[in-house]
Amino acid sequence: MGFVAFQQITVTDADDVLNTLDTFCAANGWTTNNNSVFGNGRRLHMQKTGSETVHSDLFVNLRSSDPKEIHFNDSSNVFHLGLNMSEVFTLADDPMRQGESGTPVYPRDSVGAGQARGAGVRFLSPDPNFPANQTAFMWIFDLPDLVIVYLEYSPGRFNFFYFGEMKKTATFTGGQVFGASYSYEVTTINADLENQPRFMDNTNDHPNNFIRVDFDTTTDRWVQNHTSGSGFTALQGLIGRHLNRFFIDASPNVFNGKAPLIISYIYVRRAGGVQQSHLGFYEHVRHINMQNLVSKQQFSVGSADWQVFPFRAKGAIIGGIGDDTLSANRAVAIRRN
């Protein structure tokens, strides 16, 4: 089937993001395990049987908090929204520490007491609190399952998170994927620095995209998408050592101004840390250079409708908005039908 549902809706606050998502997902094939008050916000746990991840259901765990209070394991930064995935749901466990008793293991294994694992969304500017009445764009796909949420917190500026599974091109245990904009913003919006949001991609220091994969002798692992270095990491997206980078830099086409839709392949570094094998790719979403497009613009290719969103803001660069260079125009196009 692929595309299942889309909605554009106003969310009043951080809790409303979870409640709205809960209602939307429950109407489109997901089962709610729990939606209740937790700390300064709520906890939401949902579940669905995936089409690609045959060894386990897709369990997703979300938290909201305002004032923000979600600490992730790699940082002292605090987040308004957090999510991760697991292979079990236990109400008695912390919402961001589900299924943690040994396996699967997250890439950063040292987590302080009360801290979370996974990825988050936070807002520092223009408001340290969760901006009220944001516009939410929500998609639900299946075959394979993928849920995407984009939040426009001020005109032309976005945060995002997603969860689901990849389309596999190889045989392995796992396949779940989730991620979020790390959401670091001060007085300017930077598109090409560490800490910055990269859809289906990652920075080296701040993992915000995760993949579940067993490979070689390593089992029960959630791995972060890592753009360089060595070790057991996943590779995807646009940055660094990845084949997609070529296409984003080669577009838009100088001959007709068009930008190709770029498949985001996912690889894993094999034991030894050098050689890489393909795992799959993201269905329903493509990377694109949006130099000749505007945020939220819709276009069609044949019978397929797409809508384009920047990683954070179109033209965002080191030092502020306004540059129209290649790196400032990395974006995603998401199916609308």
């Binding site: 084949l243 577009s251 100088v254 094998s277 393909h278």
Partner: protein, 155 residues
């Protein structure tokens, strides 16, 4: 295929073209390349991924037309999956009206794709979506990045 009795740089296949004449503006008149592209009504240009005098010359980022993914050094490390699956990537022609390159994508060579040479060999065959493919290497080269596959689709 550009034939040579020696292991010359220009002895290559069209999927990963090259020349022994060095980098620079690729205009008709260079020798050793294996593919020509006509991007507009005036110009014919060379597609070349590599240059220099050696048997396995270096990739050039200074070319005007080329073929992805052989131009990308990332493919050197791409091997088959744990289950033995191989991924094929479409041969994609790129170029620009002026250097440097990577300013436009012309399209794909139908039926031609990159495939990893890891644990692979020329004349191997495989089937994707019911279509037979046969594997080739780049003349005398047999490193991971030197292989390609062609569909054997009945017309």
């Amino acid at each position: 295929m550009n034939f040579s009795s020696t292991n010359a740089a220009g002895h290559r296949t069209f999927a990963d073209p090259g020349t022994s004449l060095g980098s620079g503006v690729n205009v008709l008149g260079d020798e050793g390349t294996l593919m020509f592209i006509r991007p507009d009504t005036i110009l014919w240009g060379h597609a070349k991924n590599r240059f220099s005098q050696s048997g396995q010359p270096a990739r050039t980022s200074n070319n005007r037309f080329g073929v992805w993914p052989w131009i990308d050094s990332d493919i050197d490390d791409q091997i088959d999956s744990q289950g033995g699956e191989y991924q094929k990537l479409p041969a994609t022609l790129f170029g620009a009206l002026s250097q440097p390159t990577s300013q436009g994508i012309f399209g794909e060579l139908e039926g031609v794709s990159w495939i990893s040479g890891f644990n692979n060999a020329a004349e191997n065959t495989f089937v994707v979506d019911g279509v037979d493919h046969v594997v080739f290497q780049s003349t005398f080269r047999s490193d991971i990045e030197d292989f390609w596959a062609m569909e054997l689709d009945a017309l």
